[in-house]
């Protein structure tokens, strides 16, 4: 076990954006995360892989406290963002979530217009300045490459868009509130290959400005876009390394079995 610890810490000598310290998660009596230490670097794409139920999504959702509403959820240990413990008592969770955006598995636009979808995150902050909102909406849609496709239909329902467009809209909606971290929970698993390629390209561009953590079931995807990859199994972090290294020459037998498709 000692040598694992050393290995896990290798990729993290520079500045860490996100840190997990001895994190354990329980759902009532069930232990979903069994003590994970992990450091995630700024302006990199870190992929979480592992079989269903391995705890990777639960772990991801710790960083913006989305597990808080799950019945029976309990956490031990600390999660730090820029060195600050986000589970301490007087933390403003709403403020935290403006800093840590999230994109979900299934595109989940609000049943409102495209404009309202993107402006929502700003409006709830009390921003009413119409021209500012308009600029911000346009800017966010441009960032995800959706502006030219929808600029005529900005006031039409977001539900009329295709799945891939909806997912890019959801990313635009997240970018509009200017987070520094974006969590993505299998963002392409409900999309066709062409939409997936577009989203991957987008994620790759976004890492200039954002720290991105992405959960994926798609090993090729993790290999293509991520700088670091973490392999989770049964609530534990088995291996965490540069993606190139992890996919070509994994340290652990379990990792190798998983990435070669022998289980999971």
């Amino acid at each position: 076990m000692k040598e694992n610890q050393d290995k896990i810490e290798t990729p993290v000598r520079k500045k860490h954006k996100l840190q997990a310290k001895e994190v354990k998660v329980f759902y009532d009596d069930f232990m979903a995360i069994k003590g994970i230490d992990m450091n995630i670097r700024a302006n990199k794409i870190t992929a979480f892989i592992g079989p269903s139920g391995c705890g990777k999504s639960t772990f991801l959702r710790l960083f913006n406290r989305m597990n808080d509403y799950v019945d029976g959820f309990r956490m031990e240990g600390n999660i730090l963002i820029d060195g600050e413990n986000i589970y301490k008592k007087n933390i403003n969770v709403e403020q935290l979530r403006k800093q840590v955006g999230m994109v979900f598995q299934k595109p989940n636009p609000f049943p409102k217009s495209i404009y309202e979808n993107v402006a929502y995150g700003l409006k709830i902050q009390g921003i009413k300045d119409k021209s500012y909102l308009k600029d911000k909406v346009e800017d966010s849609l441009k960032q995800v490459g959706l502006w030219n496709e929808v600029k005529e239909d900005i006031n039409k329902s977001a539900l009329a868009l295709s799945g891939g467009q909806q997912q890019r809209l959801c990313i635009a909606r997240t970018l509009a509130v200017e987070p520094s971290i974006i969590l993505m929970d299998e963002p392409t698993s409900a999309l066709d290959p062409i939409s997936t390629a577009k989203i991957e390209e987008l994620i790759y561009e976004l890492k200039q400005k954002y720290t991105i953590v992405i959960v994926t079931h798609n090993m090729q995807q993790a290999g293509r876009i991520s700088d670091y990859t973490a392999f989770f199994y049964m609530g534990e972090l088995i291996e965490y390394d540069k993606s190139k290294k992890l996919f070509t020459n994994p340290e652990k037998q379990q990792t190798e079995n998983y990435i070669t498709g022998r289980f999971g």
Binding site: Q95, K98, F104, Y120
Partner: protein, 284 residues
């Protein structure tokens, strides 16, 4: 081969039985409506709607009862709506899911099944006597509001439940508070369902007789209510009163009043169906 035939026979037999059962309700309802229409339709004219009650059947109208029903409807809505919706939002979105909340839940569903006359007794004690409202429109409205609260709460919760969890996730993940999520996303998204429940609850309230008789609503009121503290009658009580009289003329009046009451509830149900359909198409 034999077994297949047997199954086919059972299939056909059940189908026929099902058709019979479905038609049974519709046929009985049609017979009822038909006979009411035959009895009462010729009695309905503008005078019938705008006339005050009278001892002479041919001069009597439903104006006071109709106005009483309208007053009751409006006040009941004003009382039951905010309370019911707020309670539903609390139970569905805020309350922790534990033993206490499931106990509350079961009890609210049970309350929906309590006989309405019990609500009348409760209203008589609390509103008429303790709070000294007398047999007023206000006391009647409070009583009926209590009666329909469980229905409003249950249907509002169902409507909120029908909003996909992903909408809540998306809103929270953008930094919205719970109240912002409720007021800006969940209520607009579920408004059709909530409205449907409320209209159905109100169409029940407009037909209630027993609790209002218990709190002292009168069969004969010379004038339509002009303030919430006035005495009142409502359509079902007027109908009940007319039917229990020996003269044939009042029977015709009762039939005519039933047509109007049915018309009101049908219209309300139609509005409810319209909103439900519009709302259901929203998430597709």
């Amino acid at each position: 081969m034999n077994r297949i035939k047997k199954n086919r026979f059972k299939d056909q037999a059940f189908k026929l039985w099902g058709i019979f059962c479905t038609l049974l309700g519709i046929v009985l309802l049609s017979i009822f409506i038909g006979s009411i229409l035959v009895d009462g339709i010729q009695r309905i004219d503008w005078d019938f709607i705008t006339s005050l009650p009278s001892r002479k059947a041919e001069r009597a109208g439903i104006y006071t009862a109709l106005m009483g029903s309208v007053w009751i409807l409006v006040l009941t809505t004003i009382i039951a709506l905010p309370v019911g919706i707020a309670a539903a939002i609390y139970l569905e979105e805020y309350a922790k899911k534990n033993k206490l909340s499931s106990l509350l839940e079961i009890n609210i569903s049970n309350l929906a099944g309590v006989p309405s006359i019990i609500y009348g007794l409760l209203g008589l004690e609390i509103f008429v006597r303790v709070m000294q409202m007398g047999a007023s429109v206000l006391a009647g409205s409070f009583t009926l509001a209590l009666l329909i609260l469980p229905i409003v709460i249950v249907s509002t919760r169902e409507a909120l439940k029908a909003v996909p969890k992903s909408i809540r996730d998306a809103s929270f993940a953008l930094g919205a508070s719970k109240w912002q999520t409720v007021s800006r996303q969940l209520l607009p998204a579920s408004s059709g369902g909530i409205l449907t429940g409320i209209i159905l609850a109100l169409s029940r309230a407009v037909g209630e007789t027993a609790p209002l008789i218990v709190i002292g609503a009168l069969a004969y009121v010379p004038f339509a209510p002009e303030s919430p503290m006035d005495e009142f009658s409502v359509l079902p009580i007027q109908i009940f009163n007319w039917i229990s009289r020996p003269q044939h003329g009042f029977e015709i009046n009762a039939a005519a009043a039933i047509i109007i009451l049915l018309f009101i509830t049908f219209v309300m149900n139609a509005i409810a169906v319209y909103f439900r359909n519009r709302w259901q198409s929203k998430f597709k």
